[in-house]
Assembly symmetry: D2
């Protein structure tokens, strides 16, 4: 692993802490990012944003550009979706995490996002990673569905080498022979990456399992294993979702999950970064 330079603990043994206004990622408090797979409408997004805000959540995810296996599947609302994200986040005081699909879209997405997400399918798109090294906002870098730990860290190395030190790694499951679940969540990657690197590591058990009933247990497992945060898909009406509804939590029962995550975080010597006085939890 000799080419792991900037990302390695040999380079810096201090955990990287990313600052977004008053929020810290990679410090004692765990980051909770929640929201729909895709932005579908003003109504959908506002309802979700309102619900998350009431739960104390500070970071909202939502895809405006969606990378879809089939060209005939819903591709996202694009710029309209970005505007909806911005409006909802302004209204409810949420920070926005959204995916950028390639170099040509960085400029368009940049003003609407607090954190730029790089999807699993771009995990080895090195030309794009080089460009993200020039951006002055944090990058949430998902692991490729067939990336080794070393390849994942080298992808981060590309971004750091370009000048952007604010990279959040995200384990989202890998592709294996077992199709009982959508992906195989590699929980061991979390403590292993934290041994090797000073970068924060979060987990996405929604993509990682593809099954709603597994999201809470895998979230707890990720925290127990040392994750610095979670990214969770939630929807006001999962059955009507335009993509991935089967793995989305129900908004109206998400309070129980947030409570469980907070309790596990505290058991693990961390806290869950929530607004001071959430109405529901």
């Amino acid at each position: 692993m000799s080419d792991l330079k900037l990302v390695s603990r040999q380079h810096s043994n201090h955990n990287t802490v990313i600052r977004l206004g008053d929020e810290l990622i990679g410090a004692k408090e765990l980051c909770l990012i929640a929201g729909p797979c895709a932005v579908e409408s003003e109504t959908q997004l506002n309802e979700i944003a309102k619900g998350l805000s009431e739960l104390g959540v500070k970071f909202m995810r939502g895809g405006a550009y969606k990378p879809r296996t089939s060209p005939y599947a819903f591709q996202g609302l694009k710029k309209e979706g970005l505007k909806m994200l911005k409006n909802a986040s302004d209204t409810y005081g949420l920070k926005i995490v959204t995916e950028v699909l390639d170099t040509t879209l960085i400029e368009e997405v940049y003003p609407y996002a607090d954190i730029l997400q790089v999807g699993s399918r771009n995990a080895k798109n090195y030309q794009f990673l080089k460009e993200l090294g020039k951006v002055d906002k944090p990058i949430l870098l998902k692991r490729g569905m067939s990336s080794t730990i070393n390849e994942w860290l080298l992808a981060a190395e590309y971004i750091l080498l370009g000048g952007n030190e604010n990279v959040i790694l995200c384990e989202r499951g890998i592709r294996t022979f077992d199709t009982s679940v959508r992906n195989t969540m590699d929980i061991a990657s979390i403590p292993l990456v934290k041994e090797l690197s000073h970068l924060p590591v979060i987990a996405d058990p929604s993509q990682g399992t593809g099954k709603r009933s597994l999201v809470t247990p895998l979230s707890l497992a990720a925290i127990a294993a040392g994750a610095d945060g979670l990214m969770i898909e939630v929807h006001n009406e999962p059955e009507e979702a335009l993509s991935d509804g089967f793995q989305s939590m129900y908004l109206n029962t998400m309070g129980d999950m947030v409570k469980a995550l907070r309790a596990q975080a505290e058991h693990s010597g961390r806290t869950l970064n929530l607004k001071k006085e959430p109405q529901i939890v």
Copy 2:
């Protein structure tokens, strides 16, 4: 999954609880099985058994017959090893879990074992599984390194159909493209199997990761995800171990791990099944 009959929750929605004297597996208390990969000598085994007993551990693992990839690797002490296991367990009041390699060895191993372990390499040895259905001791059935969830449960179905209802499933990592770790621990299999089946499920993070530093975080993750127990490799001198020392915990510092497991079990609404008054923890 229509051929999952006896093992399924449709067949019985009551969690199977296995009784071994006063001990229960599959009930509220989590089962902790610890011990060396292989029985190597009287001295080694007694030292480990004594240490485990002092930590409050009630179940000891140890291989007398070892399935090794190379015919030139240490194959186990065989019958001598079984006797050492029996002696140590009698002295320190431990229940024995040990592997049976095939049908021809059931009779030999039976008197020395409280729980018969079926290794990953035998996960599809159906002739053997049928024979184990006739045995009146519990079977610890490891998942095959390339078994899907369905195949794993069907292996258990063979044993139940043969008449033995006392099967403990054990997730021990699957084989994937990523060789950063020895196996990829499929933590999601734990809650998924518990959805599908009434059988208890434990986790083996020693085999599952192949790396000492990952054993504690993955053990905590397994408990957080709902596991009914753990199987942990421990050695008095890992550097001198005849097999798999790199993934064995140090006996003399295992107390910290046991404390952490107990705390996590209690946080998760369970307990850790330890002797009443452990000397160290």
Copy 3:
């Protein structure tokens, strides 16, 4: 790969040639083994044996004991099936290849088989492999569905070390993420194993692909890549087969395939080992 001793080209650079009466396996002539997945009835087997004999085929496969993922699936005709194999082979002058499921069945199967087949699920059943080292008939050793090349060769090493030098390796596809086909046929394993070992290597594209239409192209590919033979599933009525009919060739059109295999063998500087005057080809 330092534990590859007896199987390696360093040990013997002469290709192992296995003699079965007048037939050679591993020499210039390619071995063609064909027959049903499972022996189902006297009628079925005789019809297939007659057809194969007319095509000039000299080796017949057929399972009397079937390792099935589900305990509720057809498990084979057992001893009755072995007798049917023997009768059919005597009548039509075919050598018999049939699977032995474990150590306890070696004695039963031995008198009926010319070549003992070890299935993919037993590829790491080392206790069994040791026993097969004591048998004085050739062993057809299938690659495990998740065995590396090194593990596969070490399985053969177990048999050679036990005293049986007549091992035929059989590539039958490995388990990968892609479920478009049943297994991923690893054609590169054929020339790679021939570089590393002096043992003959054949291919099983029926199991290897699980799809009838792919069997002929993959058979040709295996020969082009240097295989020493082929194992092909064929059935008189694939639609009625009790197992794996979807991957079985139709007996009544198998003549075209045999012609194509013979032509490819000759193009590749080999011959196809067929009876002197086949009636159909």
Copy 4:
């Protein structure tokens, strides 16, 4: 597979034949593309181009932009490399196949390439694939290292839907548990894709195996299985290559391989598309 529309045989049962001046790809003649992994210097490229031309080869590959796992590895000569490709191709009358790394580079690479190559790492970069649908030159679309057959064909569907019907599919090996070779060449994908789609399919056994000694046997296997062409890495001095020398054929002994490929093509009822009067073969 209902979203396979334009690429499917249901849409068009006529094999797509791509025309590049006088050359056809996807017709009776097999396409042979050869050249270095990366363009390294004027001298290197001219020597290889000259050698290939003398062997009768009509298509040259060579990377000017290289996607490398490590940011510290040689990234290609970029525009200088493109110019060298153009010069060499003009001098020796070769058509150029070279990789485009992303949307932002299409315009730069376009004038220098006869066929635009999309690498394995971009197999799910849908934004890029949409852009390639607008290009009026053929696209060589490599299979993603973890793409199923369906995902690979859907990637092609993106390009066809964008308006570019000239897509050549290229099997280059998939990522599996076995690390004996660099990738596992999925030879069965060739006849399977030809069943499902009318597009031409070629094979890249250099990437597919990562081992020089396996390139010729796997090339023959690919032709025997129905491939429409081959892409082969060759270098004048493999030991000195800046990337992937271990899998490159030696230029000075490539004549033997070309002869073998031509013979196999003719045996399989095809021809190998070579210049009329090659000097060496």
